[in-house]
């Protein structure tokens, strides 16, 4: 009798400790990256161009590249994602086509990101001749994060209560008017949250861009979306690889990781803020 209770207690703390292992590693990871990189993170690191000399290297061009990549990914994903979600939730509800697309989207979400890289390489880079430009990278990334936006937007649209729609129809509004003026505004916070989460996924994703063949060379700061570019995760990747020869590059990689983590933290906090602040409960 006693043993059973004792075992329960012992296991309870074992479970708790094992849960802490994961969080402990998270803490170690953050501490390690910050101690290694914080000394290198200063204003001139953020505002100077890439350089082979680790003392003078900065990530201005990398930041510009990431921002421009997001300028492509944002609108493309937003339009495609929201339109798909509206179609699935409002027009194709419970049809065979809906379940087909739904299965398709959930399978797409499980496709490894390198494969999206191969798709981008074949279709956008080679077939459309976009090379390793920001546009090619952005379009590839949009397809990769599309399932996130679609699923989030669908949930947001589904949570708009039916009586709002019915009231709108009752006033003589058409279906599209109802969607545009009633459903979408009510679902906006949820859609925005999904949008931010998908962008934060796109900012950290490396593999598809590397597959597209982003050059390793030091390059000028990109000025249009047709230019070649480098982005935060790619720069981390190359600096980590090159740290074998020049150990200081590892510190630069760590400093860049800090920048990346801070950006992600801000974005995710914004998503949580929007969700808590503007989400209406009916």
């Amino acid at each position: 009798m006693k043993n059973r209770l004792l075992l329960n207690q012992v296991m309870k703390y074992t479970f708790f400790l094992l849960t802490l292992v994961a969080l402990g590693v998270l803490a170690v990871l953050i501490v390690q990256v910050f101690t290694q990189g914080i000394g290198w993170l200063n204003w001139s690191f953020l505002t100077s161009k890439l350089s082979l000399n680790p003392e003078r290297a900065g990530i201005l061009g990398v930041i510009v590249g990431t921002v421009m990549l997001m300028i492509v990914v944002g609108p493309v994903t937003m339009v495609l994602g929201i339109c798909t979600a509206i179609y699935l939730e409002e027009y194709a509800k419970k049809s065979r086509f809906q379940s087909f697309i739904q299965t398709n989207i959930s399978n797409l979400a499980g496709v490894p990101s390198v494969i999206f890289g191969l798709l981008g390489l074949t279709v956008f880079s080679r077939m459309f001749g976009l090379g390793s430009s920001i546009l090619a990278g952005g379009l590839t990334m949009s397809l990769l994060v599309l399932p996130i936006v679609v699923v989030a937007s669908q949930e947001a649209i589904r949570s708009v209560p039916q009586f709002l729609r019915e009231a709108s129809y009752g006033m003589g509004a058409t279906k599209w008017q109802t969607i545009r003026r009633i459903v979408l505004p009510a679902a906006l916070p949820g859609i925005l949250t999904g949008m931010i989460l998908s962008l934060s996924r796109a900012i950290g994703e490396t593999a598809p861009l590397v597959v597209l063949g982003i050059p390793v060379l030091i390059m000028p700061i990109p000025s249009s979306i047709m230019d070649d570019f480098t982005a935060l995760p790619i720069q981390i990747y190359y600096w980590t690889l090159d740290a074998v020869l020049t150990p200081e590059y590892a510190n630069l990689a760590a400093a860049t990781i800090i920048v990346l983590l801070i950006v992600l933290f801000v974005m995710n906090s914004a998503a949580i803020f929007i969700r808590n602040k503007f989400q209406k409960r009916y």
Binding site: A22, I115, S200, G204, L212
Partner: protein, 309 residues
């Protein structure tokens, strides 16, 4: 039609009505086009992979690709056997599972069955942070922290080895296993918990004999999805496991996974049209089939064996 209106107003009203009707017809068509993009993406993926894989098998016999243990795409007499890559992929995923399954499952048990609401509200967001960290950061962590740490314990560990990225990959996957398993366990109705507790069972007995058996389909599905994630994971293994194409079972040595091969080959200078370039797609296709099968199995398990209450 209202007779008090002038001709101009009437025309305008008619126009507005027609526009409205046009919108009602055009909008669904536009939305359908957007929804169809996701289907096109799938078709695009399959077509690019199949097409260039067929090109590849014109140069390399099918049999050799799947049975040869020698992979040297850039040597003078290139040889394309995928077994070293499959071996590396399976071994790194196995290591990851050895980390992710025990820790993920116990975290799920703790959060679902033991933790108070306050602890849960604290731990779950932190798990989400863990899940949101980009894989490149984990790769850096594996290479510059975990490998040197492991080298203290295993002196003849290579600077690039499969053990360290395997472990880090496991840590990356913990949140996936934990949250999916927890979902499965918390969807077991409370009446079953209370029934068992009322019979005098301890929390542990309730968990082991009631909750886990009832949630087993969801739990297994989460394991299978985790394997699929590990197989498809790229940056951690690319950075920390290196690019040696040896067919070996020694986890202290460098191995290459299918994903890392794709990255190595595309960021190198594989000219379009060479056999090496096409091998990329053959490997990609194999990887795609691996993950697709895993995902379908997971879907099948969670649908087929779900206990409905």
């Amino acid at each position: 039609m209202n007779n008090n209106l002038g001709v101009k107003e009437q025309i305008q009203q008619n126009l507005q009505k027609r526009n409205k009707r046009l919108m009602e017809k055009a909008v669904p068509a536009l939305l359908f086009t957007a929804a169809f993009i996701s289907v096109l993406t799938t078709i695009g993926i399959v077509l690019t992979l199949v097409f260039d894989t067929m090109q590849f098998f014109r140069h390399v016999p099918f049999w050799e690709f799947f049975t040869s243990t020698k992979l040297s795409p850039l040597s003078r007499e290139p040889s394309f056997g995928i077994l070293p890559l499959i071996n590396g992929t399976i071994i790194s995923s196995l290591i990851a599972m050895c980390v992710a399954i025990p820790i993920g499952l116990t975290s799920a048990i703790y959060l679902s069955e033991y933790a108070s609401e306050r602890v849960r509200k604290l731990v779950k967001p932190m798990m989400e942070v863990l899940a949101g960290i980009p894989t490149i950061v984990y790769g850096f962590f594996a290479y510059s922290f975990v490998t040197p740490l492991l080298a203290y314990i295993i002196p003849d560990l290579g600077a690039k080895n499969v053990l360290s990225p395997g472990i880090v990959m496991g840590i990356m996957i913990i949140p996936l296993v934990a949250s999916l398993s927890e979902d499965a366990m918390s969807s077991v109705p409370n009446s079953m918990r209370e029934g068992a507790l009322a019979l005098g069972a301890t929390r542990l007995e309730v968990t082991m004999k009631v909750i886990i058996p009832a949630a087993i389909s969801g739990i297994i599905a989460s394991f299978v999805l985790a394997v699929s994630r590990a197989i498809g994971e790229t940056m951690i293994v690319t950075i920390a496991s290196g690019s040696s194409k040896n067919f070996t079972f020694d986890i202290t040595e460098s191995m290459q996974t299918m994903t890392a091969y794709i990255v190595e080959f595309t960021s190198g200078d594989a000219g379009s049209g060479t056999v090496g370039y096409y091998s990329l797609y053959a490997v990609g296709f194999t990887l795609f089939v691996f993950t697709l099968v895993m995902n379908l199995i997971a879907q099948y398990i969670s649908r087929k064996f779900r206990e409905a209450y």
